[in-house]
């Protein structure tokens, strides 16, 4: 699993984990708006009307944290959600994630990492309000209770939080305000409407691309067609003649055209004449990278985990061998990459849809040549993230462009830039071997992963120096099954194509391999795939419970409708667990219809059931999109695809029915943004095997069925 320690290592290795003093103008209560009358800590403040503003230190890219984090505060505060507003926190160490020690959003860690911090923030405020009331009434605080923003005391006395604000502000901040026990929860676990719902239905929600600053110009950058390519020369004379083009300047990533509006900038860009040096990977192609991976699978790889002696056991048995392949994938969030920067002599202001405030601040400092303390960063709404906005390339682009022209610049990527200049989910080949004992249990299993390591690119010191790579092998073995003889190995492929975090890193590829192979082993053993793995799970098992629920709700043991078949797969992501059954048919030899996805999910304590369901729906369909159609191919060191017509994503006509069952099998929340994604592809592929008798071991499946 992707350990939180890895993120800290990454932060340190990328220079994002610097120590920084709290800016004087933000301390002690960054949350305090001019209207605040009570600001017990940096996380919340209250105005005279009793309305609380919760500071949200995480990026809202759809996952619902601008609702769930305030819910955690409201729970312990005993304020009604109707009295809760939220505000995105500025980039400031006061808002660091308490586990990561930096400000960033990813890895499905918002709920687990922020759960106690946000609850304590609310509990502290509540304790101070209660203390103020108790003093006013001359009673013990323990004689008072709270509900819906009102303190009640002996003899029917009541006081609203608003009426207590001035007194509460004078109370010493308690160090250890008591938290509720879960059976006292009134907000956590209830279906709460998204706090950002209205602006997201009337066009007023402000994304990075919507930022408008006085005097701002709009720019876009022509970048090298091959990864690692560099600028040889350019001629901007035609571009500069386009009406509205103000400047053409070379920047680190290419040639920036800066104009009055995006249309002029795009036209200017099209009129550029540029010569590029292709760079060291200019000949790379999908075929050449596939060859590297195939060669790697012929080696032992770097051992990552081992039990028993898998090689010896496999040598003595009828072993099954299979190789699985997945392609590069772009994230393609709906909002193209962008940022707005205003670089002045001694100060930089940046507005950005970023998942990585601390990293973005560092990138802006580096690009401007100013210290981090001179960078003010505002986080907007993010039009999707999926890991892409953990990168800071678009921040650097905007800051360099603004610096070059001495004006505020909104730097916007086109969709073609997004598809072609991304960081990608690595293409990968996985070699598996296994054997089943006569008692139906797995005797030995090996899994060798060959792909480009994310850590090798962004934080070599955190991983690839030792060859140990926890991210690349994430999810390489099935959840909750003890295998006596196993070996997981990894080989890094230095292909020159930048790879990065893409929803459920590692697991999004490894789960397709291992969960398909589990189905193959079951078939070889003559067992039902669900019964096969259930028999290997311990009696008390969160995973087994989900398996049972998914099987029951999908009617696994009864015959599928005529022409349909069902497939099963499951995955664990940092203690979150999901079991999925896909029901599919093939209307003809070239198409796949996924009728239904049944999902049983255990993400621990449920903050907002509606938000959790939405996350699982989204993650599963993100996985289905990749399973059916997702594919980036490489030619001449660059990406072949360019836009949604050749990098196809799931549309409504492909969306199946979904049935989601929620289980809360832990007394704390796990994350939920990623666990829904990885098991969809193997569930669909396993259903296709059941339907056709053919194994499809290469994604995307719509390609696989045409070439099989």
């Amino acid at each position: 699993m992707l350990a939180r320690a890895d993120f800290i290592k990454i932060a340190t290795a990328t220079g994002a984990g610097f120590a920084l003093g709290l800016r004087a103008d933000l301390a002690p209560a960054v949350a305090a708006s001019p209207a605040a009358v009570f600001s017990p800590n940096v996380w919340l403040s209250m105005d005279a009307a009793g309305v609380f503003t919760v500071m949200v230190n995480k990026s809202e890219m759809g996952q619902g944290i601008a609702t769930s984090l305030p819910m955690m505060v409201a729970e312990e505060l005993d304020a009604p959600m109707s009295a809760i507003r939220y505000q995105f926190a500025p980039a400031d160490p006061a808002y660091n994630d308490p586990v990561w020690k930096q400000q960033a959003t990813g890895g499905s860690t918002t709920s687990p990492n922020m759960y106690m911090t946000m609850r304590k923030a609310g509990a502290t405020a509540r304790a101070m309000l209660v203390s103020a009331a108790a003093t006013r009434w001359n009673v013990e605080p323990s004689a008072c209770s709270t509900k819906d923003g009102v303190v009640s005391g002996p003899g029917g006395k009541t006081a609203t939080y608003a009426s207590l604000a001035a007194d509460a502000a004078k109370v010493a901040v308690p160090a250890d305000a008591a938290l509720k026990s879960p059976d006292q929860f009134r907000v956590i676990g209830t279906r709460v409407k998204r706090l950002d719902i209205v602006p997201k239905t009337n066009g007023t929600a402000q994304y990075g691309i919507d930022v408008r600053v006085p005097g701002m110009l709009i720019g876009t950058i022509e970048k090298a067609p091959s990864f690692g390519g560099t600028l040889a020369s350019f001629d901007a004379s035609k571009a500069k003649r386009i009406k509205g083009v103000r400047a053409v300047v070379p920047v680190t990533s290419g040639v920036a055209v800066i104009a009055d509006n995006m249309w002029a900038a795009k036209q200017g860009r099209a009129a550029l004449s540029i010569k590029w040096n292709p760079g060291p990977y200019g000949q790379a192609s999908t075929a050449s990278i596939d060859s590297m991976q195939r060669i790697a699978l012929g080696t032992p790889g770097v051992e990552q985990s081992v039990t028993g002696d898998a090689a010896a056991v496999l040598a003595g048995k009828t072993a099954l061998h299979a190789v699985y392949e997945v392609p590069y994938l772009a994230h393609a969030p709906m909002e193209p990459m962008n940022a707005t920067a205003d670089v002045r002599a001694d100060h930089v202001e940046v507005w950005a849809p970023t998942q990585a405030q601390t990293g973005a601040q560092a990138a802006a400092a580096k690009a401007s040549g100013l210290p981090v303390s001179a960078v003010t960063l505002h986080t907007t709404f993010l039009g999707g993230g999926f890991g892409r906005r953990f990168e800071t390339d678009f921040i650097t682009d905007a800051v360099e462009a603004s610096k070059a022209v001495g004006k505020p610049v909104k730097l916007v990527w086109t969709r073609e830039d997004d598809i072609r200049q991304g960081v990608f989910r690595s293409s990968q080949m996985s070699s598996l071997a296994g054997a089943v004992d006569s008692d139906g249990t797995i005797a030995a299993l090996t899994h060798h992963v060959a792909c480009s390591s994310i850590l090798a690119r962004i934080a070599p010191a955190a991983g690839s120096a030792t060859g140990k790579d926890r991210i690349s092998i994430n999810g390489a073995l099935p959840p909750d099954i003890a295998i006596p003889n196993s070996r997981v190995a990894f080989t890094h492929i230095d292909a020159g194509i930048p790879v990065g975090f893409w929803r459920a890193p590692g697991a999004n590829a490894n789960t397709f391999a291992i969960e398909s192979f589990m189905d193959e082993l079951a078939h070889q053993a003559g067992k039902d795939p669900v019964a096969f793995r259930r028999a290997m799970m311990p009696g008390v098992s969160r995973a087994r419970k989900l398996l049972d629920i998914a099987a029951e709700r999908s009617k696994w043991t009864s015959a599928a409708p005529a022409g349909h078949a069902r497939g099963f797969a499951m995955v664990e992501w940092d203690q979150a667990l999901v079991a999925i059954v896909a029901e599919v048919s093939m209307p003809d030899k070239k198409s796949i219809r996924v009728h239904r996805l049944t999902c049983a999910a255990d993400c621990g304590t449920i903050i907002n059931p509606d938000g959790l369901e939405a996350q699982l729906q989204s993650a599963m369909l993100f996985g289905l999109s990749a399973a059916l159609r997702g594919k980036i191919t490489i030619k001449n060191g660059g990406v072949v695809q360019s836009n949604f017509y050749d990098y196809e994503v799931l549309r409504m006509n492909d969306a199946p029915e979904m049935d989601i069952a929620l289980v809360a099998g832990l007394d704390k929340p796990t994350g939920a943004g990623e666990v829904g994604t990885p098991a969809v592809a193997p569930a669909v592929a396993n259903a296709l095997f059941k339907l056709t008798g053919k194994r499809y071991r290469k994604l995307p499946l719509l390609d696989a069925i045409k070439t099989a």
């Binding site: 066009g203 009406k243 709906m334 969709r415 369909l621 993100f622 289905l624 836009n643 799931l650 409504m652």
Partner: protein, 151 residues
């Protein structure tokens, strides 16, 4: 000068006639609810109404939009009351990141204006040009049915 009538307000714009309506709306007029997604009419994020019909504004030159009423997401509320489709979107808690939702809502309102009681197939046909990368398609479909009064 090109005169555009957007949400009932006239705007005289000094822009080239081939400028896509999307950029005129966003960068020149300053109405940012209409979104840039692909620039090639493949995602629907930029959907607006031109004389009541849903069009991809990234592919409509301003010269072709002049003289016709243009409605954007900012213009579908009436007398301060949200459009019934917007109410349905709120009721079903549709958006995740929300970026595509202006386009989704503009496609949905055009569909319902033409077919007040759409079938599932009608909804799928009308909405499959609008990509949602958060894939809130099940909720979008439910919200359209709610707005149409279909159980």
């Amino acid at each position: 000068m090109i005169r555009l009538t957007i949400n009932g307000t006239k705007h005289d714009l000094d822009v080239p006639p081939d400028m896509p309506l999307l950029w005129a709306i966003r960068d020149v007029v300053g109405l940012t609810g209409t979104k840039f997604g692909c620039g090639v009419a493949a995602c629907g994020a930029c959907t607006v109404h031109l004389s009541g019909a849903a069009v991809r504004s990234c592919q409509v030159p301003v010269s072709a939009a002049a003289g016709q009423p243009i409605t954007t997401i900012e213009g579908i509320a009436k007398n301060g009351k949200p459009h019934p489709v917007q109410d349905a979107w709120v009721a079903e808690n549709v958006p995740q990141c929300g970026y595509c939702q202006s386009g989704q809502i503009m496609s949905a309102t055009a569909l319902l204006a033409e077919k007040p009681k759409p079938t599932d197939a009608d909804i799928s046909a009308a909405m499959s040009g609008n990509i949602c990368r958060c894939a809130m398609y099940p909720r979008i479909k439910k919200a359209i049915k709610r707005a149409a009064g279909i159980a």
